[in-house]
Subunit: 461 residues, 2 copies
């Protein structure tokens, strides 16, 4: 089965492929907010039908949360599992969007044409690059180039509560030679990337209670404990003056990247000034003495993702609130045990509580970092296939983000993951006005057609 | 004109008086939220009509904000100005209310009958104690016992932006011998009080901006500045470990209460354990080495009344937000200049900003503390009148709250204020389930009838 007509077919079908993506983008599948549960289900239904329409055996599988979609097709010795997620992030603050996040459109921008809308890049657009590559293979050759399982999750943006139980229950049905995951980015617009280092993620919500009701700050101010002050002290203490995180044992067991890896990163010529300048910043705010790529790929972090307490509406209210809460996340690297660090963080917070204050903890996911072995010749074959599509050769890189599923594939399905994606730094994922370049979508589909061809011809381990 | 039939009339009319208050409580006159502007106006209209129905000359006066209501009546050498406010606090968190805050009702509680609803205590119920006392005087004697101006504001809960311009423009129309203000509390349920020390209030909102858009914490976390962290550090630094406020110059010029005043306060036998225990606390959280009454009456405070930034909805979102903001208020005491402290606070915040962060400040009111001179024989006369109504003799006390209008009456109208009110500590003003005891309302009306009688018989200064 030759590749060239598949690539031609992809070029000819791009308009129709874009329309299919727009249909999926119109479904507001926000997984973290229970109000959108029916929409999440509708997105799963749409995907299962789309896979079935290509002749794949496809089904929507219920879980205690949002459903999983599984499709199967192709044959041969090589068996690949593809993973993507069809749920999306919330859209607030809605007033910063220039259009309805769920009424997507193609827009002309100074940097080229983009598909604008929530999920266009993370991860519906990326997921559909693979689906469209499969569709082109089947349209041209009547078959996929190898045996494939497609596996789509609807809870990635809400901590994946059903994923581990599902993988454990469906071990035999999902196990393949290698997983392909499309939820990462290009290194830059010329250099495609295979991500081989992923940070883990520990999510914690802390709710501090002081007085058992909201008080008038004139009546009680100055005498009663204010939970916002307590919470602020805790947050302020999480980093020292050099940007290091103060949770006891936080850095224990973290390896330094080898000199060789550091040299590779150096060679990428990452433009720190542009990376910061794109978002209105001029200085790195992390650990002193580290480069930006180290801060993003090989060093752990602690960020406050949200905080709220007291009166936050228009005007002023002299209340002394009963409660204040914050959502805090830690990006973890190789060597860090998420559950051990959760204990250490919680103990640290407990210790900082003044008398009369209590704290409630809610865990939101705890996944370790993943580091792939690039010894498998499939990695070099895929790197070559990507290099054929893009202007410059593909690179092995790290990622600041967390894709916990890669860790679960390793521990539960005993399968490595190859992370290839076409997102760009300015895609504004998780932010207002998310977009996906039409070029990312088009060359992404072509890239997967090439990678499938290359992996089908590479011996399974 | 004798007092006894006026008191009898008040007792007989209590049911109708309560109904009138309920009608006013049903109007959601939340002044801080522009969505309720028409309701605020409706409350003013209702009051002007109620005063007119008693035969007073009454009018609603427009301002650039919410209207002022002014009523006039009576004659004689003694001229008193009564002040109250008809606007109320917002009602959130609404889910903590046991009934619609604007559908008031009489409820039986273990401590007696209460009028439940937003504004029942602060300040519609208190304001109506005076109106009902006037109504009873007129009903019995066909006239008020002295010359009266009634002055009602609709912006007290939103920083009174129109008050100073209005007082300056209407100086001649509003100037009287003495102001009466009903917006304070009893010392306890047996001991009525005349409040002679009031704290001032400085309200500040700070909005910190880091990156110029919300970022993905995986993409930028660890490298980019997080404004929630910056805000938390600022808040955490506002107090030192002994509970003292660190704004430069904050305590300059504050006098210590005299030994005599301290002895008076000591004699009141304030129950700190009960004061804290009522709201689920066990320890004073303010400046070390100070009593609760000092913390509340003669020492300044700094409280965070609200904080918000990033994702605060259900679930989790790994965003690194662009902005975070807090509403911070300072209760001020004698000797503190609000405008000077505003400058000092803003300079301190500016100094703590890391590179790449900016701050926007919004001022929400700045009023100095007030200390009344109790040399005027009217104070002793009123104290005696109150002592006649309540089980125990009345006390001169301080107040932790801020009633800026008393300061403006002094500086603009050159008139002292006598603060008499019937609120209780458990009224939950500014909180869910606000109430006013039926006893506060009933004996409050009777108290004003007595005080008017006493002051009409006391020579004006």
């Amino acid at each position: 089965m030759s590749l060239a007509p598949v690539l031609d077919r992809i070029d000819a079908d791009l308009g129709a492929a874009t329309e299919r993506l727009m249909t999926l983008l119109r479904i507001p599948s926000i997984s973290t907010d229970p109000a959108y549960a029916a929409d999440v289900d509708r997105a799963a239904e749409w995907l299962a039908k789309d896979l079935a329409s290509m002749g794949l055996e496809a089904a929507k599988h219920p879980t205690t949360g949002h459903p999983m979609v599984v499709g199967r097709g192709g044959s041969g010795d090589r068996h690949l599992l593809f993973y993507g997620h069809y749920d999306v992030q919330p859209v607030d603050p809605l007033d910063l969007w220039n259009r309805d996040p769920f009424d997507p459109a193609i827009e002309e921008t100074p940097k080229g044409r983009v598909i604008r809308g929530r999920g266009s890049s993370d991860d519906k657009g990326q997921l559909m690059t693979f689906v469209e590559a499969c569709r082109a293979w089947i349209a041209v050759h009547g078959a996929l180039p190898c045996k494939l399982t497609l596996f789509f999750e609807g809870e990635e943006e809400s901590g994946s509560p059903s994923l581990v139980p599902y993988l454990e229950a469906q071990k035999d049905a999902l196990k393949a030679d290698l997983a392909l995951i499309c939820d990462t980015g290009l290194f830059d617009s010329r250099v495609p990337a295979i991500t081989t280092m992923l940070r883990g993620l520990l999510g914690e919500e802390i709710i501090i209670t002081g007085p058992d009701m909201d008080l008038h700050s004139g009546m009680y101010g100055g005498a009663a404990m204010n939970p916002i002050r307590v919470l602020s002290r805790i947050i302020a203490s999480l980093h020292d003056d050099t940007g290091r995180i103060t949770v006891p044992g936080f850095y224990d067991g973290i390896p330094e990247p080898s000199d060789e890896v550091k040299a590779q990163w150096e060679a990428l010529g990452f433009d720190e000034a542009a990376f910061l300048g794109d978002v209105g910043l001029s200085r790195l705010a992390g650990e002193q003495g580290r480069t930006a790529l180290e801060m993003l790929w090989s060093r752990p972090t602690c960020e406050v993702n949200g905080i709220v307490g007291g009166y936050t509406g228009a005007g002023f209210k002299t209340v002394l609130p009963s409660k204040a809460s914050a959502k805090i996340s830690f990006r973890l690297v190789a060597g860090q045990d998420p559950l051990k660090l959760r204990e250490s963080f919680r103990a640290m917070v407990q210790k900082m509580l003044p008398p009369d204050c209590t704290v409630e903890f809610k865990g939101h996911g705890a996944s370790p970092a993943s580091v792939m072995s690039t010894e498998d010749p499939a990695f070099e074959a895929a790197r070559q296939a990507l290099s054929d599509e893009w202007p410059d050769p593909a690179a092995f890189i790290g990622s600041g983000g967390s894709i916990p599923v890669a860790g679960y594939f390793k521990t539960i399905l005993e399968m490595d993951s190859m992370l290839i994606g076409f997102g760009k730094d300015d895609d504004a994922i998780h932010s207002p006005n998310e977009k996906y370049d039409v070029e990312s979508f088009h060359k992404g589909i072509r890239s997967w057609a090439r990678v499938l061809d290359a992996l089908a011809k590479t011996d399974a381990p």
